[in-house]
């Protein structure tokens, strides 16, 4: 069986390789950064235009009050679940193969939440009134509606974002100390000295670090589940056809984990090449991630079938009409695209020889996320185009270029933040890789000793 990581890698080499990635990436890094900057520029341009001219340019109207903005908001919230899965859930399960890859998954969590937050502002239109969505006492004595899932959503996302940032930072302190000790003088050294808080790796620090990391991980798991359940409640608690489904919260959580895992595969492949991490982001680790993604894809497929069955057998004519309209109407190509990308394409992951085939996995992971984005769009828009009242039956509504531009820009914004993070902070956890190497070499030694004893 292939090893997740070589147990004879020198610890100094681990430091050296990871710190080198901060200064000396492959040229593709800069290509990605400039492409992301250009995409982000398109998004900014669209937002400026929408801000100056008004929300009408987005082609959002009554009954189509939610469009790509909310669909993409859900997509980015979903993407954020990957970090929690790898950092917290697999940490509690003692799956040590997560160690070389969890840091960038945590960063993904943080940046996708930041991207999702942008869409709330973009969707509101009145950027300067963004704070209305948070519960705060104000001079007019008007309080938000505490019974509204939209308010729960704002609170849950704030909690998740702040906790994820803290989790990412605290988990990085020992690595920041390594960077502080080994990097040449300059702005980086000052930054790492400040952020490492004087960490020296004493037994007292490690002991408290371990307890804290475990505690925050325990908090993050129910928090992540609650965040996406609450996002699902934005829909499921309404009376709109196609949304009032009991299985929505688990369906959303499964979808979130699914898109997060697919994004991990994409970024795994990119980071492995760009930062020359072939020794740490190994093919056996990729294989495990792929198998995990396949399992979650099947759960998502099952829950999708449950959702369709619930609607089909519910005797709710309007919900059934929405489902039929999704399959056969204006959005049919997107709906069938979702089924193809989300349920058929992942079958490739079940074939052993493709589980470590990097070009195939790159294409498949991108298709999976395309499917997951289409899924969110298919949840939001078709329902608005066919409500309970006949005046809402407007099946031909199509998002304007401004909406598409903003969605495109969000990918640029996310990629930009992510790539800058990976260049400034260690994207592979050095101390955890050392732990992995240490425990594996110890295990090997014990095995050898036992074998000698047997002879």
């Amino acid at each position: 069986m292939e090893k997740d990581i070589r147990e004879d890698i020198a610890w100094a080499k681990i430091n050296g390789d990871v710190l080198k990635s901060l200064e000396n990436p492959r040229k593709l890094y800069w290509v990605i950064v400039f492409a992301a900057l250009a995409a982000f520029g398109v998004g900014v341009g669209c937002e400026v235009y929408q801000y100056n001219v008004g929300m009408g340019v987005a082609n959002l109207d009554n009954p189509h009050v939610w469009g790509l903005y909310i669909a993409t908001f859900i997509f980015w919230i979903g993407m954020s679940h990957s970090g929690t899965l790898l950092s917290a859930i697999l940490h509690l399960m003692h799956a040590d193969w997560r160690k070389p890859i969890y840091r960038f998954a945590e960063a993904m969590t943080t940046f996708s939440l930041m991207t999702a937050g942008l869409f709330v502002m973009v969707h509101i239109g009145r950027l300067w009134q963004f704070y209305y969505s948070l519960p705060y006492p104000n001079e007019r004595g008007i309080w938000p509606n505490f019974q509204s899932p939209l308010l729960w959503d704002a609170m849950a996302i704030f909690t998740y974002l702040s906790s994820s940032v803290i989790f990412l930072y605290v988990g990085m302190i020992p690595d920041l100390a390594i960077a502080r000790d080994n990097i040449h003088a300059g702005w980086r050294k000052k930054l790492y000295t400040l952020l490492s808080l004087g960490w020296e790796g004493t037994d007292r620090q490690w002991r408290n670090f371990r307890v804290t990391y475990l505690t925050v991980a325990c908090f993050l798991i129910p928090l992540a589940v609650s965040v996406h359940s609450i996002v699902a409640s934005d829909f499921a608690m309404s009376q709109q056809p196609g949304w009032h489904v009991t299985s929505f919260p688990p369906y959303f959580v499964a979808g979130a984990l699914y898109s997060g895992c697919a994004a991990i595969i994409t970024l795994f492949i990119i980071l492995r090449y760009v930062f020359k991490f072939e020794e740490y982001m190994t093919l056996p680790i990729l294989k495990k991630t792929v198998r995990l993604t396949f399992a979650i894809a099947m759960v998502w497929t099952y829950l999708n079938a449950v959702e369709f069955a619930s609607v089909w057998y519910s005797h709710d004519g309007a919900s059934k009409d929405v489902l039929i309209q999704k399959m056969t109407g204006t959005y049919a190509f997107a709906w069938w695209g979702m089924i193809f990308c989300g349920s058929i394409v992942p079958l490739v992951l079940a074939i052993k020889r493709f589980q470590t085939n990097i070009p195939v996995l790159l294409v498949v992971s991108l298709l999976l996320n395309l499917g997951m984005w289409l899924e969110r769009w298919m949840i939001v828009s078709p329902t608005f185009s066919h409500g309970y009242y006949p005046w809402t039956w407007d099946h031909d509504q199509w998002p304007s270029l401004v909406q598409w531009g903003m969605v495109f820009g969000s990918f640029g914004w996310f990629t930009l933040l992510f790539m800058i993070f990976c260049k400034v902070f260690p994207s592979v956890s050095m101390y955890e890789v050392k732990e992995m190497v240490y425990h594996r070499s110890l295990h090997l030694k014990k095995g050898d000793t036992a074998e000698q004893g047997a002879h």
């Binding site: 006492p137 004595g141 505490f146 609170m155 100390a177 390594i178 037994d203 804290t212 505690t215 050392k434």
Partner: protein, 175 residues
């Protein structure tokens, strides 16, 4: 008598463990075992067994933070809803428990996470200035043992370090 620091670096945990064990049992006058600090590039559970009971108190901060977060959340929300006495509620409860539970739950987690981190910083003594004897090799691949002891005890401690093949020994300058 004045106390001074001495730091020894070792190439592996086995040597460091042996040193700690010997210093613990040696009964050297002018040296208290609690003044021994182990510095390592990774967390090492086995060494903790040799170091003895040194508990972490972060979980008490967590308990306090989570409880207070939840209570504060519920109190703020229901306090705001209590202002609605002035408004017509149509027979619905002024403080509805099921929806309030969700925000209370979020505040429970928020409080737990924030105060745990505060507890971590307090318990781990961070942020801090680095101790006078610090070697960057500890963040690479070596294990450091930092000891504070009376000057009279330093020679014996140094001998223990040398007996276990210390790679390097640093001593704080005398005052």
């Amino acid at each position: 008598m004045s106390q001074r620091h001495i730091l020894a670096l070792f190439s592996n945990f086995e040597d460091a463990e042996a040193v700690i064990y010997q210093l613990r049992t040696a009964n050297i006058s002018g040296f208290k075992f609690d003044d021994l600090i182990l510095k390592s590039p990774i967390e090492h559970h086995e060494v903790e067994e040799v170091l003895g009971e040194r508990s972490a108190k972060v979980q008490w901060f967590t308990l306090f933070g989570a409880t207070m977060g939840g209570l504060l959340g519920f109190w703020l929300i229901s306090g705001a809803q209590a202002n609605f006495y002035a408004q017509l509620k149509g027979g619905k409860p002024i403080v509805p428990l099921p929806p309030n539970f969700i925000l209370t739950y979020e505040m429970f987690i928020l409080g737990g996470v924030f105060i745990s981190i505060l507890g971590f910083l307090i318990c781990a003594g961070l942020p801090a200035k680095r101790s006078p004897l610090y070697s960057a090799k500890v963040s690479e691949d070596q294990i450091g043992i930092l000891v504070k002891a009376e000057e009279s005890a330093l020679a014996k401690i140094k001998q223990v370090f040398l007996d276990h093949e210390a790679l390097e020994i640093q001593e704080e300058a005398g005052k």
